[in-house]
C-alpha cells in the first residue's frame, strides 16, 4: 500500500448544499429515529436491553407486504395490521424472555432477530427468500408499494404546483416519516410523564422495589416491549416503502446496532435527543459517500469498511468518554449493577 503524497482527497461540498442530500439523510434519519425511540423506551426508560429491534422492523415490513400482495388487503388496512402483528410477536417473545436477567434478555433478543432473518431467507414461499419480495408473481402491477407510489405521486404533484418545482421522488415519504417522528416524540414524552411512565422508571431503577409496591412489573415490561415493536415495525415499513424490494439483508443485526448508535449518540433517557442523534449519525455515514477518495486504496469494500469502523469507534468512544451521549443525563443512566 502506498500512501504517497499524490493522493488528493477532494470533498465536493456542492453535494452538501443540495436539498436532495439533506432530504435523503433526513429520511433515513427519521426512520431510525422511530426505531431508536422504541429502544429509548426499552433501554433508556425501562432498563431492558432490546437487541432484536431489527426483527420487529423485518416483521413489520414483511407482514405489510405479504398482506398487500398475497392476501390482497388494501395498504391502508395492511399497515396497521402489520403493526399489530409485530406487537403481538413482541409480547409472545417477551413473555418468556422478559423474565430473564438483562444480559440473558439481550442475547435472547439478538437470537430472535437471527431466527427471523433465517426465516426471511429460507421460507421462500412466504418471503421470497434471498430473491426479495416486491410484487405478485402473476401480476407485476400488484406490488406492496403500488398504493403508496400513487399517493406519493399525487403529493409530489401538489408540491410541484405550489412551492417546489422539482422535488425528489422520496420527498413525500420524508414528510410522512417526520410527521410520524414528531407525533411519536411528543407522544412518548407525554407517556413518560404519566403514572405509567413513572412505573417504568421505577422498574429501571429497582425492579424488586417496584414489585414490592404491588406493581406487576412483567406486564409493564411487556407493554414497553410492545410499544417498541410498534415503533420498530413502523420504521421497518417506512424503510420498505423507500425501497422497491424487501430483502432479508435489509434487516441484518447490524441495523439494530445502527439504531443503538443513534440512541447513544442522542443520549439515554431523553426522547428529544434521539432525532438529533439520528441526524448527526446519518449525516456522517451518508456524508462519507461524497468525500471523493482515490480508488486504490479506497475501493468500495474499503469505504464500506470505513463506515463500519466509524460506527465501531463511535460506540467505543462514547461508552468510554461520554456514555450519556449528547443530551442524556448521567444520573439517569442505570447501566446495570
Amino acid at each position: 500500500m502506498s500512501f504517497a503524497g499524490d493522493i488528493t482527497v477532494a470533498v465536493t461540498f456542492t453535494e452538501f448544499t443540495q436539498p436532495e442530500f439533506w432530504i435523503s439523510v433526513g429520511l433515513i434519519a427519521g426512520i431510525y429515529t422511530l426505531v431508536a425511540l422504541g429502544l429509548q423506551l426499552n433501554t433508556g426508560f425501562t432498563g431492558i436491553v432490546n437487541f432484536g429491534q431489527a426483527a420487529f422492523m423485518a416483521i413489520g415490513a414483511y407482514a405489510m407486504a405479504i398482506l398487500v400482495v398475497d392476501v390482497g388487503i388494501t395498504f391502508w388496512l395492511a399497515l396497521p395490521l402489520a403493526i399489530l402483528i409485530t406487537m403481538g410477536f413482541g409480547v409472545l417473545i417477551g413473555l418468556p424472555a422478559l423474565r430473564l436477567r438483562a444480559d440473558y434478555f439481550a442475547i435472547a433478543t439478538i437470537a430472535m432477530a437471527e431466527v427471523v432473518r433465517v426465516v426471511a431467507q429460507n421460507a421462500r414461499g412466504l418471503t421470497g427468500g434471498n430473491q426479495g419480495f416486491a410484487c405478485a408473481a402473476d401480476d407485476p402491477t400488484n406490488c406492496y408499494f403500488s398504493t403508496w407510489r400513487d399517493v406519493s405521486g399525487s403529493i409530489n404533484e401538489f408540491v410541484e404546483s405550489t412551492f417546489w418545482s422539482d422535488p425528489p421522488s422520496y420527498f413525500p415519504l420524508f414528510l410522512v416519516v417526520w410527521v410520524a417522528v414528531i407525533i411519536a416524540t411528543v407522544g412518548m414524552t407525554y407517556l413518560q410523564g404519566s403514572p405509567w411512565g413513572r412505573v417504568l422508571r421505577a422498574i429501571r431503577e429497582d425492579e424488586d422495589a417496584a414489585r414490592a409496591l404491588g406493581k406487576n412489573t412483567l406486564r409493564f415490561k411487556l407493554q414497553s416491549l410492545a410499544i417498541s415493536a410498534l415503533l420498530g415495525s413502523l420504521g421497518g415499513a417506512f424503510l420498505a416503502l423507500n425501497l422497491s424490494t424487501i430483502h432479508p439483508l435489509v434487516f441484518e443485526p447490524l441495523v439494530t446496532f445502527f439504531a443503538f448508535s443513534v440512541l447513544i449518540l442522542g443520549g439515554l433517557a431523553n426522547y428529544k435527543g434521539v432525532a438529533f442523534g439520528a441526524i448527526l449519525f446519518w449525516f456522517v455515514l451518508e456524508g462519507t459517500r461524497f468525500i471523493e477518495l482515490p480508488d486504490p486504496p479506497f475501493t468500495e469494500t474499503r469505504i464500506a469498511a470505513l463506515r463500519l469502523a466509524i460506527t465501531g469507534m463511535l460506540l467505543i468512544g462514547l461508552m468510554a468518554f461520554r456514555p450519556q451521549g449528547m443530551f442524556g443525563k448521567r444520573e439517569e443512566m442505570v447501566l446495570g449493577e
Binding site: 433501554t43 433465517v118 469494500t301 465501531g312 467505543i316 461508552m319 468510554a320 456514555p323 447501566l335
Partner: protein, 336 residues
C-alpha cells in the same frame, strides 16, 4: 390383581423419586433427553445415518465448545458479555490464512501463530479497554455496547485488508477417510481429533491445575477469591490469554472446514452464546459439554429438516432452555 395394585401404588412413588433425582441433577436429565432423541432418531433414520451426522456434528461442536469456554470464563470472571468474541475467532482464521496461504508455511505453524496472535489480541484489549473501564466502574450496558463497537471495528479491519471475498486455507478438501463404515473428510477428522483433544486438555487443566482452579474460583466469586489471597490481576490476564488462544484455535478449525470471511465469527458467535447459556453462564465445564451437544444436535437436525434451516437449531434450543431452565443445564439457580 394384587400385583397390579401394588405396582400402581408404587409407581407414583417411583415417579416422584425419579422426578426428584432429575431436578437435583439436571445434567442427568439432559443426558436422558439426548439419549431419548438418539434412540428415536436411530429407530426412525437408522443407526448409520445418525452416527454419520453425529460424527459431522462433532467437528462443529468442537468449534462451538472451544469458543464457548473462553466466552463463558470472560463472562464469569469479568462480568463482560463479549460480543467481540466471535471476531476473535475471525482474527485467528485470518492470521492462519496469512501464514498458511500468503506466506506458504505449513498449517501447524499457522495454528500456533493464530493462537498466539489471538491471545495477544485479547491481552491488548484488556490493557486498552476492559481494564480501564473496570477501574471506571463501567456498568453492564456500557461494556456490552463497547464490545459491540469493538466487534465492528475488528470486522472493518478485516474487510479493509482482506475484502469480503470468501477465502480458504491450504488444506486437503477431497480425501475421505473410512472409519467403521462412516465416511469423514480427512481435514474434518483432523479437526475433530484436535478439537476434542484440546477440549479434554482444557477440561483437565481447569479441573486439576492451580491456574484452572483459580480461574473457576474467580468465576464463582471474584471478591471471595481475592480475600482468599488469589492474585486476581494475574488470573485475569491468564484468562484473556486462555480465551484468546482457544478462540484463535476455534477460528482456524472453522476456517479449515468452512470458509474465511469477515462475518464468519459473528455467525459462529450466536451458537457459541447458545452453548454458553446452555452450559450455564460462567461454567466452563458446562460450556464444553453444551458446545459439543449443540454441534451434534445441529447436524442431527438435518436428518429431519432441510439443511438450510440447521443454523436455526441452536437458537431454538437456546429459546427452549431459556424458557425451561434459564440458568442452564449445569448452572445454579442463583445465576439468573
Amino acid at each position: 390383581m394384587e400385583a397390579g395394585q401394588i405396582a400402581e401404588a408404587a409407581s407414583p412413588g417411583l415417579r416422584e423419586r425419579l422426578e426428584e433425582r432429575l431436578r437435583g441433577s439436571p445434567a442427568l436429565a439432559a443426558a436422558g433427553v439426548i439419549a431419548v432423541i438418539f434412540v428415536l432418531l436411530v429407530i426412525s433414520q437408522g443407526l448409520h445415518d445418525v452416527m454419520q451426522t453425529g460424527l459431522n456434528g462433532l467437528s462443529l461442536g468442537a468449534i462451538y465448545a472451544l469458543g464457548a469456554v473462553g466466552l463463558t470464563l470472560v463472562y464469569g470472571i469479568l462480568r463482560l458479555v463479549n460480543f467481540a468474541h466471535g471476531d476473535f475467532l475471525t482474527f485467528g482464521a485470518f492470521m492462519a490464512y496469512l501464514v498458511n496461504v500468503t506466506w506458504g508455511a505449513p498449517l501447524v505453524v499457522a495454528v500456533f501463530w493464530a493462537m498466539i496472535a489471538t491471545a495477544v489480541l485479547g491481552l491488548l484489549f484488556e490493557r486498552l479497554l476492559w481494564g480501564p473501564m473496570r477501574r471506571k466502574r463501567a456498568g453492564f450496558l456500557q461494556l456490552i455496547i463497547m464490545s459491540i463497537g469493538l466487534a465492528f471495528l475488528l470486522r472493518a479491519i478485516y474487510q479493509w485488508f482482506w475484502g469480503t471475498e470468501i477465502r480458504n486455507l491450504d488444506v486437503n478438501r477431497s480425501d475421505v477417510v473410512e472409519l467403521l463404515g462412516l465416511r469423514i473428510g480427512q481435514t474434518e477428522l483432523i479437526v475433530v481429533v484436535v478439537g476434542v483433544t484440546v477440549l479434554l486438555a482444557v477440561g483437565l487443566m481447569l479441573r486439576f491445575s492451580l491456574l484452572g482452579k483459580r480461574m473457576r474460583a474467580l468465576s464463582d466469586d471474584l471478591e471471595l477469591a481475592e480475600t482468599a489471597g488469589i492474585d486476581t490481576r494475574r488470573v485475569v490476564l491468564f484468562t484473556w490469554i486462555f480465551a484468546g488462544g482457544l478462540a484463535g484455535l476455534a477460528g482456524v478449525l472453522a476456517g479449515a472446514i468452512t470458509n474465511i470471511y469477515p462475518e464468519m465469527g459473528f455467525e459462529l458467535l450466536l451458537p457459541i452464546f447458545a452453548a454458553v447459556i446452555l452450559g450455564g453462564i460462567g461454567d466452563a465445564f458446562g460450556a464444553l459439554a453444551a458446545g459439543l451437544v449443540l454441534g451434534v444436535m445441529t447436524e442431527w437436525s438435518t436428518l429431519l429438516i432441510d439443511a438450510r434451516w440447521k443454523i436455526a437449531v441452536g437458537f431454538v434450543v437456546l429459546v427452549i432452555v431459556l424458557i425451561v431452565r434459564p440458568q442452564g443445564i449445569f448452572g445454579r439457580a442463583k445465576a439468573i
